[in-house]
């Protein structure tokens, strides 16, 4: 009973402190740019009187950040902005949880995807691409990242024509894939609409240095590329748009979810947001509640259907380079150890760096103590025993005193310096550089 009381109380006063928006990708990337536009929209619409802080937690195809939110307090103060990769991360077995581990708040904005080939390719349309891949004597090397949404779209395309068979190559970011297609190392690939328009070469470029979209994987043609047909038009029922969703941890009170959803809807209607999204070629779709859940379920179902066949066909396809490497490192380690044991038997001159004024063995114990002091302070910061600035002051002061026993130093200056570093670092990082500190 107590938890419910707390929950309802919270949703009345929500928000009464900073709301953290976790973006599971690096600052400056597409997801980050999108989240920052919405953040600004929320601030312009004055939806919350509390600051919204964006926290970038990149890594693991978005799973480092998504796990952070999944495991956080379900109180609406830490929410996640993440796209379809949250679904595919589970299917690819990167993590063992998918959208079901969160409360979806809203769908905001969708990116159209296009299938493209090099501009001088013989392939005219999607049907042609599939037929070409079905012919036994040829293979279509298709760029799509394993574990990412584009991979599942490629699988869906493959399954839409009996016998079609792509050689799917995961080839990293958009720029990488583009280079490989231009260089003739890959034949076709799935790109986002904004990547396609960015990569399109200026008029007059020879066809072997340019790319051409053969289909857009949206329900309708896109206004910015009206000549490119949809896959559906070509009779291939594949629809995939990369949608941006907002997620809260499971168990977040529904009042808070609704509150954030309303705020997001208003932010999406802000003129600056509309304009910025248009610039990014994002369609300003918006969905909440039942519609949102339906769309999510449909996407999950689509991906799961093709994922089953994928896991069978993929098993054991690549050599285990990591294991070979491990063995090689062990062999080298044995060699080096052997060399070490034999010592200077080879008669080689000691090849250390020049340190002309070395005296004695130095102070290894001092270094060890200093390292211990650092480890202790990191522990202190992590567990939050004292405010960050105070802990940093103590770190600088302790180390300074430790070292100044060996080098004559003014102690008072040390005190001044430690205060300056501790509080200065706190100020510079959190206020000027906007990095969220522990």
């Amino acid at each position: 009973m107590r938890t419910r009381w707390v929950a309802s109380d919270q949703s009345q006063t929500y928000p009464n402190r900073d709301i953290e928006i976790v973006v599971p990708y690096a600052a400056g990337g597409g997801s980050d740019t999108f989240a920052r536009i919405i953040q600004q929209g929320l601030q312009e619409a004055e939806e919350f009187d509390q600051p919204l802080v964006i926290i970038n937690q990149p890594g693991g195809i978005g799973t480092i950040g998504s796990r952070e939110v999944k495991n956080s307090q379900p109180d609406g103060y830490k929410i996640l902005c993440h796209h379809n990769a949250i679904i595919t991360a589970k299917l690819a077995e990167t993590v063992n949880y998918g959208p079901e581990a969160f409360e979806p708040i809203a769908l905001t904005g969708e990116m159209s995807m296009v299938v493209l080939v090099r501009a001088d390719s013989q392939i005219e349309d999607l049907q042609g691409l599939l037929e070409e891949s079905a012919r036994s004597e040829s293979s279509i090397r298709f760029a799509a990242n394993k574990g990412a949404p584009s991979y599942y779209a490629a699988l869906q395309l493959e399954q839409s024509l009996q016998g079609a068979d792509f050689t799917i190559v995961s080839s990293g970011g958009g720029a990488d894939r583009y280079t490989k297609i231009i260089g003739g190392h890959l034949d076709a690939g799935i790109f986002s609409l904004s990547e396609y328009l960015d990569f399109l070469a200026p008029e007059g470029t020879p066809a072997n240095r340019d790319i051409r979209a053969i289909a857009v994987l949206s329900p309708q043609r896109h206004e910015s590329i009206p000549d490119v047909p949809t896959a559906v038009e070509a009779g291939i029922p594949v629809v995939l748009r990369n949608a941006n969703y907002w997620w809260a941890p499971k168990g977040t009170p529904s009042k808070i979810i609704e509150r954030i959803a309303v705020a997001l809807e208003n932010a999406m209607n802000e003129p600056t947001v509309v304009q910025e999204l248009r610039r990014l070629r994002l369609d300003p779709t918006f969905a909440v509640g039942v519609e949102l859940r339906d769309r999510l379920n449909a996407t999950v179902e689509n991906f799961e259907k093709v994922a089953v066949s994928q896991n069978v066909s993929q098993a054991g396809s690549l050599p285990r380079f990591d294991l070979y490497l491990g063995c090689f490192v062990l062999v080298l380690f044995a060699l080096v150890t052997w060399e070490q044991i034999r010592g200077g038997a080879a008669g080689k001159v000691d090849d250390s760096e020049i340190q002309p004024v070395r005296q004695g063995r130095g102070q290894p114990l001092l270094a060890l103590t200093a390292f211990g002091v650092v480890v202790f302070h990191v522990l202190a910061i992590q567990s939050g025993w004292l405010p960050l600035a105070i802990t940093l002051v103590s770190l600088v002061l302790l180390l300074g005193i430790l070292l100044s026993r060996h080098v004559a130093t003014r102690k008072l200056w040390l005190v001044e310096l430690s205060l300056l570093t501790g509080f200065g670092a706190q100020f510079v990082f959190s206020e000027i550089l906007k990095i969220s500190l522990p």
């Binding site: 693991g60 952070e68 380079f321 090689f328 102070q363 670092a425």
Partner: protein, 509 residues
């Protein structure tokens, strides 16, 4: 030309120029302080630029780089303690000359050589990057793999006197890059059940641990070491055009050597200066003066170490392959700002390419100006007491690692790699191959895996594609040469040992 205009606009704006001044100054200072390296500063400044404008961020990093490689000669000349490993060779002649009453001349020669070396390698950077980028856009997966293999063998073989140790270090680096997500399959591996490991070890914490924290601990061990300082007088550091001409051939030769050595992956400024010094001695009419205050020696060392900057930026921009440890950090910086170095960078973000090039040139000029005008002052800063300096840097190490992705895991990774770095150095295993392996390994694996996916499991393209075959054959030759051509190598090494008193310089850039 639009990119060029944008780059000029950024570089010549008050804030752009301010960033160059600040960066160069910081670089010179850090370079001059023995025990602090440019790599350390660049790794620590990188987190500060996450939220900043990408062009300004790169301008700052490049300026620090230029300053740091140059600043090392101040303490090398005046204290006989090289500020950075890049200036180890400068101590050999700079300090004797300073002791004999000509500290201004020794520093003046160094500044002149650094400026010319930087300028000439800048010329190569501008001329060669474009064509190489076009060439590398024809590289497929197999070509990249073979190229990276060649690079890995190269760093190991040219690196230290022990091929085995360098190879071990390099492949240990590759090994530590394995945990996390396998790009080719999208699945995780080697995480030992720790979900924090899903993304493996990030470059920045590893780098800060190996090159900053480890270095600071080493400094603490050596905290009681002192140099015998030479103070400089009022004489100007400026040398007239006559001097420039007198050293013209040496300047040109050393700069070209530095540039080419810089272009080779994984080989930093110190190897560049050793090589140029050895060659200069071979060509000199007074080889016996080398090591006792030879002007040619200072010029060769300083021209070459600055020339490696331009050289090592070429493969970074054109192919996305780091030429040295600093380039590995710059690669990370570009990726963090959403840019992928490589042939695409030219068309995707020409302004970034021009900004990098322009920043290098301007920082070079600013560096010369600062060194000539305020050498006495800079020499004072270089002797700030360690108890003030080291604790503050440690604070930045902790915050910098944390800020990468707002988690403590990275801080622990940093501390763990500091311990690993100490252990490796204890056994005289060089650290630079480790970090290059750490960066290049995943690139090699990714390209081979994807190549195999594209060729449906066939390894044949490795040898049937001409460029790939050439790289592999070269790699084999280099490996065989360094394993069995030991007599040749020993002779070369002995020469280097003769000139450097106790073997080749350290590995740290």
């Amino acid at each position: 030309m639009n990119g060029l205009e944008e780059a000029l606009h950024v570089l010549l704006s008050p804030s752009g120029f301010g960033v160059i001044m600040v960066g160069t100054f910081l670089g010179i200072t850090v370079g001059a302080v023995p025990g602090l390296t440019g790599t350390m500063l660049i790794a620590l400044v990188l987190p500060l630029t996450y939220g900043a404008d990408p062009l300004l961020s790169m301008t700052l990093l490049i300026s620090i780089y230029v300053g740091a490689v140059s600043g090392g000669m101040i303490t090398a000349t005046l204290l006989r303690m090289p500020g950075t490993p890049a200036s180890i060779i400068t101590t050999l002649d700079g300090y004797p000359m300073a002791r004999s009453g000509e500290p201004e001349r020794a520093l003046g020669l160094g500044v002149m050589a650094s400026t010319v070396g930087g300028g000439i390698s800048w010329g190569f950077l501008v001329l060669l990057t474009g064509p190489i980028a076009v060439l590398s856009s024809h590289f497929g997966f197999f070509e990249y793999f073979s190229l990276v293999m060649m690079a890995l063998v190269l760093i190991a073989s040219v690196g230290g006197s022990s091929l085995r140790k360098a190879l071990f270090s390099g492949f240990l680096g590759v090994f530590f890059a394995m945990p996390g997500i396998n790009v080719a399959t999208g699945q995780t591996r080697w995480t030992f059940g720790f979900t924090e490991m899903n993304d493996g070890f990030q470059l920045l914490p590893v780098l800060i641990g190996l090159f900053a924290v480890n270095q600071i601990l080493a400094d603490i061990v050596r905290i009681e070491d002192k140099g015998e300082p030479v103070s400089i007088g009022e004489k100007s550091l400026w040398l007239g055009p006559k001097q420039w001409l007198a050293h013209g051939v040496n300047l040109l030769r050393s700069s070209v050597i530095g540039t080419w050595i810089g272009m080779l992956p994984g080989i930093g400024a110190n190897i560049g200066s050793v090589t140029a010094y050895t060659v200069a001695k071979g060509f000199s009419r007074q080889p016996d003066k080398f090591g006792h205050g030879s002007e040619e020696g200072i010029v060769a060392s300083e021209a070459a170490n600055n020339a490696t900057i331009g050289g090592s930026l070429i493969p970074l921009i054109a192919m996305g392959l780091p030429g040295s440890v600093v380039e590995a950090v710059l690669l990370g910086a570009l990726v963090i700002h959403g840019l992928q170095p490589g042939p695409r960078l030219f068309s995707e973000s020409p302004s970034m390419v021009y900004t990098i090039m322009g920043a290098m040139l301007l920082a070079n000029v600013v560096m010369a100006f600062m060194m000539i005008c305020s050498m006495r002052w800079l020499a004072k800063i270089a002797s700030v007491p360690k108890p003030f300096l080291l604790p503050v840097i440690l604070v930045f190490c902790v915050i910098g690692s944390y800020a990468l992705s707002n988690r403590f895991f990275d801080v622990w990774v940093m501390l763990a790699f500091a311990v690993l770095g100490m252990t490796l150095e204890q056994y005289k295993i060089p650290l630079a191959p480790f970090i290059i392996g750490f960066v290049l390994g995943p690139i090699a694996e990714k390209n081979l895996s994807l190549g195999l996916q594209a060729s449906e499991g066939s390894f044949l393209p490795l040898v049937t594609r001409p460029l790939s075959l050439i790289f592999l054959v070269l790699a084999m030759l280099i490996l065989l040469f360094s394993l069995f051509g030991s007599s040749v190598k020993d002779r070369w090494l002995n020469r280097a040992e003769l000139v450097t008193d106790s073997g080749k310089g350290g590995w740290k850039p």
